[in-house]
Symmetry: C2
């Protein structure tokens, strides 16, 4: 089963890697048109998914993530149009020189080949992932959740028709209709076919991929992000940054989870920050020193330092110096985003050099770790690993660099 | 055991990532001096390894790879000096721009952290790998073969002393003295400590890494490389390229294994190429058409198309057209290096676009896929995977790109 799908994806990838950027752009616009035209069918399929999910007792946030309406389908189409407007990463020359013997060398970005995306209930990922893979010249195998199967089939079916109309292989986008765990595992281990697997979902999915995947993956891991307010911080700026990093959107990976404060400014800053955070509904958990300053805080334990709350909860720790803050971040950070607030250039430089993370931020919110904010347009994920790509993953992360050599008969 | 070594490597990596390029360069020169001064001890330790290996019945190429003498130690020192002369990859800015709100973004190369290298009998890899990792600001854990343990200990000991003298952490270079399979496996699974594992050895080692490693790896896989002589080829150049690609150094991964010839030039070319190759001692295995032209060829089977001989053996196939050559390469190639010989620009472009390989060569030998030839200086390996790095791996492949953001209090 997976071999048949894999083979089709590989064959489609051969066509895609030789397609022009204009053809891929055109296909994305065609996909956007197709979705707009098929909005009735898509919403109807989604209603069936919603009905069944409700029967099975699904409620709340999961149901909201599953829901599609005219507006959400229009947003999917708009997303495709904006990806079509991004610079084409394929064929971009990233280096070129002549060897000693006159052989010309070009380093050029090419599609990876076949990308697999495993994702959870949100059916808009079907269109988003298809758009990003198509624009970067990759065939994609999509595996969504069972709850969204009818919605995903309607969306993928429309997209495949659009690809054919645009003159690109329909098998560039395939949806895995087997939504069992075994189906997902087969995809995670399809080393003959899958060049890159991107999981998009919660910690359970990431853990399953880390345990079972034998194909190359990019892990969109946890973000246990810190804001460290240094002795040299402008405390007004620090307050704005801490509050924004925690409360702007607490459920996402670039939200801050722990506030670290230098002892020299703790007395001035901790109580003020606590007031502002509590006013936004944040529950605080502090170490002994923080609780001396703000007795309303619950005591923080070892577990708190290591937890990505993804919620309106924040741990607070007062530290004697910059080195202790660096040590804390090294011990508990997950390599996602770490921020320092300071006007002391030496302290900033030391923090930046010492902390090993995808993104390090001086005097701004952790919330800027994001493909849109970085100017990449839509992102396919945010990598917390060090190989291939770190941080927000744009179109370029779906390509590799290879070498093309032109000679005139040269030998060694 | 591996945790203790891993922790030391991690701590050393913190020092190294904050070291200057000048300090790392200085350390490499100190390492070169140290090796030169310790040549007596090293050769003595090696003599003990050689003695034991011979007692255990080791002979031939393996003994030659194990052997160290004054000249080989001098070559190791010279290798370190040449790495010290390479451009520093650390801290290089690969991109920088301002976000819409004035936050400045810098994309900067940083060391990976801790690199593990598992290698076979050649003890010079101890110095080579230590030099490349040190120059790129990484701590390294080395795991050589049991046959070379005394030699490797002598080399690593000298290098560690040199690091201390140069003011860098000695634990930047650690040798695993446990040379059992379990020791190697523990290193392959030390996900808390190892940021990249590079295996340097034969197919057995690569297979063990593919089966057991859970740390990130770069696979230096097989090179089943083809030379395709197109209808539009200059046959004189083609002859030189084919002979060079096969016989210049048949035991390495960038040697050619199969010759593909377009039917239109087969009658002129196959017999001539066969004569030249056989004169160099190459055994040829052809398909029916090739054997019609050169009856001395043995028949080639399916197995031959898929075999990386690494020897003076070459398979020969005559194909009706360019598309068949592309299909053959897609089916049997290993993503290492593929060459086309043609003066037909359209055919060259189609081959380049269609073939998905780390290096594609037009009108030159496959033997140019090499870090030194590309101008990278020493290489740590040659990647046949698509993530992170493809093709020859220089110093840059031991780094990652991360983002540093500077703001003035910006929030979302």
């Amino acid at each position: 089963m997976i071999d048949e799908i894999g083979r089709r994806a590989r064959n489609a990838s051969y066509g895609l890697r030789q397609s022009t950027g204009a053809a891929r752009r055109g296909a994305l616009l065609e996909m956007a048109e197709g979705l707009t035209a098929a909005v009735g069918e898509i919403v109807e399929a989604n209603a069936a998914d919603m009905g069944q999910a409700k029967e099975e007792g699904i409620t709340g946030a999961l149901i909201d993530r599953l829901r599609l309406d005219q507006k959400r389908v229009a947003a999917m189409a708009a997303g495709l149009r904006s990806v079509a407007a991004l610079p084409d990463p394929v064929g971009r020359e990233t280096g070129g020189w002549s060897l000693y013997n006159g052989v010309r060398l070009h380093r050029v970005r090419v599609p990876l080949g076949v990308v697999a995306v495993i994702y959870e209930a949100r059916p808009n990922v079907t269109a988003d992932a298809a758009g990003l893979c198509m624009m970067s010249g990759n065939a994609v195998i999509l595996r969504g959740s069972s709850y969204a199967l009818r919605s995903n089939m309607a969306i993928a079916g429309t997209i495949r028709d659009s690809l054919s109309r645009a003159g690109l292989p329909a098998d560039g986008v395939q949806l895995l209709e087997d939504t069992t765990r075994d189906g997902a595992k087969a995809l995670m281990q399809a080393t003959d076919w899958v060049d890159l697997l991107v999981p998009r979902g919660g910690p359970g999915l990431i853990a399953a991929v880390q345990a079972d995947a034998t194909v190359p993956t990019v892990i969109d891991g946890a973000g246990n992000c810190h804001v460290y307010v240094d002795a040299g911080a402008d405390l007004d700026k620090a307050l704005g940054i801490v509050v924004n990093a925690k409360v702007h959107r607490p459920g996402v990976c670039n939200a801050a989870e722990t506030l670290l404060v230098h002892e020299a400014v703790a007395e001035k800053f901790v109580a003020e920050a606590a007031r502002a955070l509590m006013a936004e509904g944040v529950e605080l958990r502090g170490d002994d020193r923080a609780r001396e300053l703000v007795p309303e805080m619950k005591p923080a334990t070892e577990v708190d330092w290591a937890t990505e709350y993804l919620d309106l909860v924040m741990a607070v720790r007062v530290l004697p110096d910059l080195d202790s803050a660096i040590d804390h971040v090294r011990q508990y950070g997950t390599g996602h985003t770490e921020a320092i607030v300071t006007d002391d250039r030496v302290a900033a430089d030391r923090f930046v050099a010492a902390v090993d993370t995808a993104v390090v931020v001086v005097n701004a919110s952790t919330r800027f770790t994001d493909g849109e904010e970085f100017g990449f347009g839509a992102e396919i994920g945010n990598s917390t690993q060090k190989l291939h790509v770190r941080g927000p993953m744009g179109l370029e992360s779906l390509t590799s660099e290879r070498y093309v050599l032109y000679g005139d008969g040269q030998v060694r």
